[in-house]
């Protein structure tokens, strides 16, 4: 697969040094998009003219010395649930098919202020509800490693764009694994930041207590650079917090000495694919060689993490999506007879099956009489999950786990049948506890399986300790690059 010559931060260096320009980089990715989009369908929208116009401006600013960030001049792709002023933002839903936001999400605003250029909006599962991009109202994306396989989801389009060289870097959002799982399936890095570190202003809400925007890129440094720019307090998202100095790039060291890595034993049992288990052990070996202290331990998470997640996520979704009623913006049904019919038909016609299913489930678990048995119960399970992680981080700096049970499944694994959806829900077991506990985690590409499909491992840190997981991922990346050089 042809990928960009450089990573995003390398590209910015080249541009800064005057050996390449932002305009050339934008033309290059537009060319890749033209060649590949019919096959991959990573994007829902590409704004060629806007991107080229902005590239010219960015080139001038860089030349004048007014822009010199670590990502100045880098073409980025943005998941289509993140608002971009004047650029359609659909959430891959009929409901928002023609929605053009009047404002830009803080995360994008900060990257643009640092000189990044948005080239387009990427495909996703409708309202981020799904793990294959197959619930998108506009068709699924394809995995660049195998076109009959899913790229994962919900940020599948962003993962494909980066993996296939259609963008140097992309933004995704992660509510239960939506950055990390597609990153693992497409062989790239995907970083879910600590809850509260990146503003959710302009992110169309799915489950507000779990949602985080994060970067997806081809190197650890790219992800660190993007998070460093995006993170921090924002008056427009009262949930944002700043802890530590935020200087993530400084933390990147090509060594792992002193790092205490815990590997939850129970995560390596059960249905986990043998090849992923081996890939994880290989990464453990690698960290041992680099001076880390690795150890298997019992995390003892309660058995019902996935149930807890779906209860809370559906409950919050039912509340967040109540705003889409055909009145103020978005899809409005034709010729309703009265106001209630306007609401109900607009929602029935605007939302897809999976979204409606979760809205109804959410309303049930929140309704009088069932609230305690389901929603409140889930919040108690969440408390137990948090306690397990607190205990683990008293002994370890970083936890290493698989991201997924297996490599990317074939397209068509998700269908509207409830049993297929339920099977996919249960595969989220390694990613959802991280969101429930608010932790940062990064998906690290860890080779290919025998079918030639990428597999990943996940590094989890304690809240606001992104530096530790990034340092660990950086060390692994270095070892991998040494390995590659050795083979050449």
């Amino acid at each position: 697969m042809k990928q960009n010559r450089w990573t995003a931060t390398e590209l910015a260096e080249e541009i800064k040094a005057g050996r390449y320009s932002c305009t050339e980089a934008v033309r290059e990715v537009l060319h890749e998009i033209e060649k590949k989009e019919d096959l991959l369908h990573a994007f829902l929208l590409v704004d060629r003219n806007k991107a080229l116009k902005r590239a010219e401006y960015v080139d001038r600013e860089i030349a004048a010395g007014r822009l010199n960030s670590t990502l100045a001049g880098v073409p980025i792709a943005v998941k289509d649930n993140i608002c971009t002023a004047g650029i359609k933002t659909t959430c891959a839903s009929r409901m928002l098919e023609n929605f053009v936001p009047s404002y830009t999400a803080t995360a994008v605003e900060r990257l643009e202020a640092a000189g990044a250029v948005v080239i387009g909006k990427t495909n996703m599962d409708e309202f981020a509800m799904g793990s294959t991009t197959e619930t998108s109202a506009f068709g699924a994306s394809k995995n660049p490693y195998c076109l009959s396989c899913t790229p994962g989801g919900s940020s599948g389009g962003s993962a494909v764009a980066v993996a296939a060289g259609e963008a140097y870097l992309a933004l995704g959002s992660d509510t239960g694994g939506s950055i990390r799982q597609p990153a693992a399936f497409c062989g790239i890095y995907g970083l879910k930041p600590t809850y509260g570190s990146v503003s959710r202003y302009g992110l169309i809400a799915y489950a507000s207590s779990l949602d985080q925007i994060g970067p997806m890129g081809r190197s650890v440094k790219d992800c660190a650079a993007a998070l460093e720019i995006m993170a921090g307090k924002d008056t427009r998202d009262a949930g944002t917090l700043m802890r530590g100095d935020g200087k993530l790039l400084e933390a990147l060291e090509r060594k792992a000495e002193g790092l205490r890595i815990g590997i939850p034993k129970e995560y390596l049992e059960g249905e986990l694919d043998e090849e992923i288990r081996q890939a994880l052990y290989a990464q453990v070996e690698c960290l041992n060689r680099m001076g880390a202290r690795t150890e298997e331990f019992e995390l003892k998470l309660p058995e019902y993490v996935v149930l807890c997640y779906y209860t809370i996520a559906s409950a919050e979704a039912s509340s967040n999506l109540a705003r889409f009623d055909g009145v103020k913006y978005g899809f409005r049904s034709e010729n309703p007879q009265n106001l209630h019919e306007l609401y109900q038909r607009s929602r029935a016609e605007g939302f897809g099956t999976e979204v409606k299913r979760r809205i109804m489930l959410g309303n049930y678990v929140l309704s009088a009489g069932y609230y305690r048995a389901y929603y409140e119960k889930a919040l108690r399970v969440k408390a137990k999950i948090k306690m397990c992680f607190d205990r683990a981080f008293a002994s370890y700096d970083v936890l290493m786990t698989p991201v997924t049970l297996s490599g990317a499944p074939a397209l068509g694994t998700y269908s509207k049948e409830i049993q297929s959806a339920l099977r996919l829900y249960q595969e989220d077991l390694y990613t959802v506890p991280v969101n429930l506990a608010g932790l940062p985690a990064i998906s690290v590409p860890s080779g290919l399986n025998k079918n030639g499909m990428p597999v990943g491992v996940q590094l989890i840190g304690n809240c606001f300790e992104e530096k530790k997981i990034l340092r660990c991922a950086y060390a692994l990346e270095y070892e991998k690059s040494l390995g590659k050089k050795g083979k050449e």
């Binding site: 019902y304 149930l307 009265n338 029935a348 048995a373 948090k386 409830i418």
Partner: protein, 104 residues
């Protein structure tokens, strides 16, 4: 086991969800909900009597911002999203059965 979803319960959820369902959709929504609720109900097996519901992850105090008036998003741009608008008003059908009512 979970109580089966009755027609009345389904109707209640449908109303709370503000969704119109065809007869076919009703049947599948009912079946799907039953499967999902049986699945979620397994949480009951876990003893959580020793924990409180966790609503906020962090124990940091709430910091309120200064009360400064402003309109950073621009009300006119937001009003432009309204599918059917008359001046400063949103036009919708009657609450009770009837045609779209003219506001003027």
């Amino acid at each position: 086991m979970t109580e089966k979803i009755t027609e009345e319960m389904l109707e209640q959820i449908r109303i709370l969800s503000q969704l119109k369902l065809t007869e076919e959709e009703r049947i599948s929504a009912k079946a799907d909900m039953e499967v999902l609720l049986i699945w979620l109900e397994q949480m009951k097996k876990l003893d959580t009597s020793d924990t409180e519901p966790l609503v906020h992850l962090y124990n940091y105090p709430n910091v309120l911002r200064e009360d400064i008036a402003g309109n950073p998003d621009g009300s006119e741009e937001l009003l432009n999203h309204i599918p059917d608008r008359k001046g400063e008003y949103i036009q919708v059908p009657n609450t009770i059965n009837g045609k779209v009512r003219e506001i003027e």
